[in-house]
């Protein structure tokens, strides 16, 4: 009720933040001016974040902001406990589909009305990325920094194998993998957590669920064929086993070793590869879209806890971070933020200073309409739990594709039923 009143009042206001500040302060004045901001493992950016807090504090006198940073795997434990205790951080940063799960639990504030009230803010973002955190049509998070999968390839190996460029279809991909496979070299690697391998299926027209997310649609002849071919390639060594067993360090580390033809991973992988592989450079590391331009996003979003004592202030902070903050973050971390204006500006600078990173980030902003493997599910992790182990065993040839997918279908159906 009051929320909508406030947003209506906002409508009349000019977008100029300063003005908004002066007009808005009384509205917020009543509530105690405290915010806590939980970030996901970006402790290295401490100076920047302290700077944000200072600048925001200057704009909103008397506001203190507590900054918490936890490393990824431990954030759920921390946040859930805080939820249970009724003291969740006001502004939280999550990765992948976790935000949707919290939204589904009723932990997050529905940002839709605010976005409708402030078109200017909505317009900031690449709509496809913004839509990543839309559950049943309601927006629960704003893009903080964005990533999706792409295809890295080892140019020297491609040359030696007489390949002109990156593959353009699933068939070509497997062929290229075969070509580059050798004595102690394998052709293809992919990350497998958070559905990041899904483009391999999407490029064959396989979808996990129906549009309405009510029924599973993956147990098809095509899917079985694709799985069989992948399993075959894995058995032959053309696809590196680590693709299906590794997490983050193992596959990226293997590719950095310099004897793997292609790596299907999301953009942050580059910085890890660069750190470990001394062969990595603009003329040796190829960057391309996966065939068909399909990619699975794994972005970082910012949301507001429903239990927040002063959501309006949190919203102001969110707007601040996804604008000025994003600008700074993009430069420091060399990443794209989903804020179109910011990214255009930063990319222009990068094109000069670091062409390779530019090329990589460019893929993140293209084909954003071809994002797959990001079904807006409230129980995404449970769904993964139901689906992945079965597929994994098929891909590793521990059971045949047909029965594995049938089993997976049974389990997915059960998850859909339980909701």
């Amino acid at each position: 009720m009051t929320k909508s009143k406030i947003s209506r009042r906002r409508l009349l206001k000019s977008g100029a933040v300063a003005a908004a500040a002066t007009l808005c302060t009384p509205a917020l004045g009543a509530a105690p001016q405290r915010l806590s901001f939980l970030t996901w493992n970006i402790i290295d950016q401490e100076p920047m974040i302290r700077g944000w807090i200072k600048r925001f504090g200057a704009r909103w006198p008397g506001v203190e902001i507590e900054w918490l940073d936890k490393k990824g795997p431990e954030i759920p434990a921390f946040y859930q406990t805080q939820l249970a205790a009724g003291t969740p951080p006001d502004v939280i940063n999550t990765q992948g589909a976790l935000g949707l799960e919290y939204a589904d639990q009723g932990a997050l504030l529905d940002l839709t009305p605010r976005l409708q009230a402030e078109a200017a803010v909505r317009e900031r973002f690449n709509p496809d990325y913004l839509a990543n955190w839309a559950l049943e049509g309601r927006n629960y998070m704003l893009p903080f920094y964005i990533t999706k999968t792409l295809l890295f390839y080892n140019k020297p190996m491609f040359l030696r194998a007489g390949l002109s460029g990156p593959p353009q279809s699933f068939a070509e991909l497997l062929a290229a993998a075969n070509e580059t496979t050798a004595e102690n070299a394998s052709g293809f690697l992919t990350l497998n957590f958070d559905w990041l391998y899904w483009p391999l299926y999407a490029m064959n027209g396989v979808e996990l669920l129906s549009k309405d997310l009510k029924t599973s649609t993956f147990n098809t002849a095509k899917a079985i064929e694709v799985t069989e071919r992948l399993a075959l390639a894995t058995a032959s060594g053309a696809i590196n086993k680590i693709s299906w067993t590794g997490r983050w360090v193992e596959p990226n580390g293997a590719f950095a070793g310099g004897n793997v033809g292609m790596l299907h991973a999301h953009s942050p992988a580059y910085f890890f590869i660069k750190g470990q592989g001394n062969w990595v450079g603009a003329d040796t590391l190829g960057v391309a879209h996966a065939p068909g331009g399909f990619a699975t996003p794994n972005s970082h979003g910012l949301g507001i806890s429903k239990a927040s004592k002063n959501p309006d202030l949190a919203w102001e902070f969110l707007k601040f971070v996804t604008d000025e903050g994003a600008q700074e973050l993009g430069v420091n971390r060399r990443l794209v933020t989903g804020n179109t204006a910011v990214d255009t500006k930063n990319m222009a600078a990068l094109e000069r200073d670091d062409p390779l990173v530019y090329a990589i980030l460019k893929t993140q902003l293209e084909h954003t309409d071809k994002m797959v493997g990001n079904w807006r599910l409230g129980n995404d992790s449970a769904m993964k739990e139901a689906f992945w182990p079965e597929l994994q065993s098929a891909l590793l040839g521990r059971r045949d594709a047909r029965s594995a997918l049938a089993e997976a279908e049974r389990k997915v159906a059960r998850q859909l039923k339980r909701g």
């Binding site: 402790i43 490393k71 859930q80 983050w248 580390g253 890890f272």
Partner: protein, 271 residues
């Protein structure tokens, strides 16, 4: 003659075993000080141009001194708490009283409750007590340990009753008897408590993670976990950190091992 060869055989076995046990230590230390790319294959058995810079990195990349201080404070609290509370409980258990079996059963069964499963209620309780994000809050769940209680109990039972009676006749109250007669006679049990309590609190990971909000309250294991997520496996610094975190507990053990081992002798398994 035969005895000699047998002796040699024994030494051989034990020496081999010791080596096997020490290899991981060597490998992590070697990695921590090694100069070249730690991923080069074959790895070198001896570190090439060794250096200590990884340790420097650790010291500065996270507020190591701060975390160290926190860990030390918490461990000190836990050690003190364990010695006092366990001694009291241990002494009480040397007596016979109604419901002793119930108490024993309670203790033993609560040993079997995994902590990871109790995080949320434990957090809520700590919140009720208003101890969130405080040293006491960090220490509280570890403040008493069942195994140690039994060690004290056993140690106290080993003290001849006559001594206690004599003390009573001299008019000492129970508390003073424990303090002035029993404790001095069970140094070993105390040492055991000190070591085990220190180890457990020093190594606690999940609990500090949950109840410390303020970065300046974090302890070393959290720092280690953070490191893991940060530098992943790209550098020797991670292993330098491992060494720096392990050193104190090894140090404490080596310092107190004599009493410790005697402590277990007199304790745990008598009878």
């Amino acid at each position: 003659m035969r005895r000699r060869s047998l002796l040699l055989l024994r030494h051989a076995c034990l020496a081999m075993l010791s080596c096997a046990m020490l290899v991981p230590f060597y490998w992590v230390v070697k990695t921590a000080i090694t100069g070249e790319n730690i991923y080069a294959y074959p790895p070198r058995i001896l570190p090439q141009n060794p250096h200590l810079f990884n340790f420097v990195d650790v010291w500065y990349l996270i507020p190591f001194p701060r975390y160290l201080l926190n860990s030390l404070i918490v461990s000190a609290l836990v050690v003190a708490g364990n010695v006092v509370l366990n001694a009291m409980a241990g002494y009480a258990l040397t007596k016979n009283f109604a419901g002793k079996q119930a108490v024993l059963l309670l203790l033993l069964s609560s040993m079997l409750v995994p902590f990871q499963a109790t995080i949320i209620p434990a957090y809520l309780i700590t919140a009720r007590l208003g101890l969130l994000n405080s040293y006491l809050g960090l220490a509280l769940p570890l403040l008493s340990a069942i195994v140690c209680i039994f060690i004290f109990k056993a140690a106290f039972e080993a003290v001849p009753q006559s001594l206690i009676d004599a003390a009573r006749i001299d008019g000492l109250g129970e508390a003073r008897i424990v303090l002035l007669v029993l404790m001095p006679l069970s140094k070993a049990a105390v040492a055991t408590n000190v070591i085990l309590a220190f180890i457990w609190s020093w190594n606690a990971f999940l609990w500090p993670l949950i109840i410390t909000r303020d970065p300046s309250m974090q302890t070393l294991p959290l720092g280690l976990a953070r490191f893991l997520s940060y530098l992943e496996d790209t550098t020797g610094a991670l292993y330098a950190f491992a060494v720096m975190v392990l050193a104190p507990s090894i140090f404490v053990f080596l310092m107190a091992q004599k009493e410790f081992i005697r402590g277990l002798t007199s304790g745990a398994t008598k009878g």
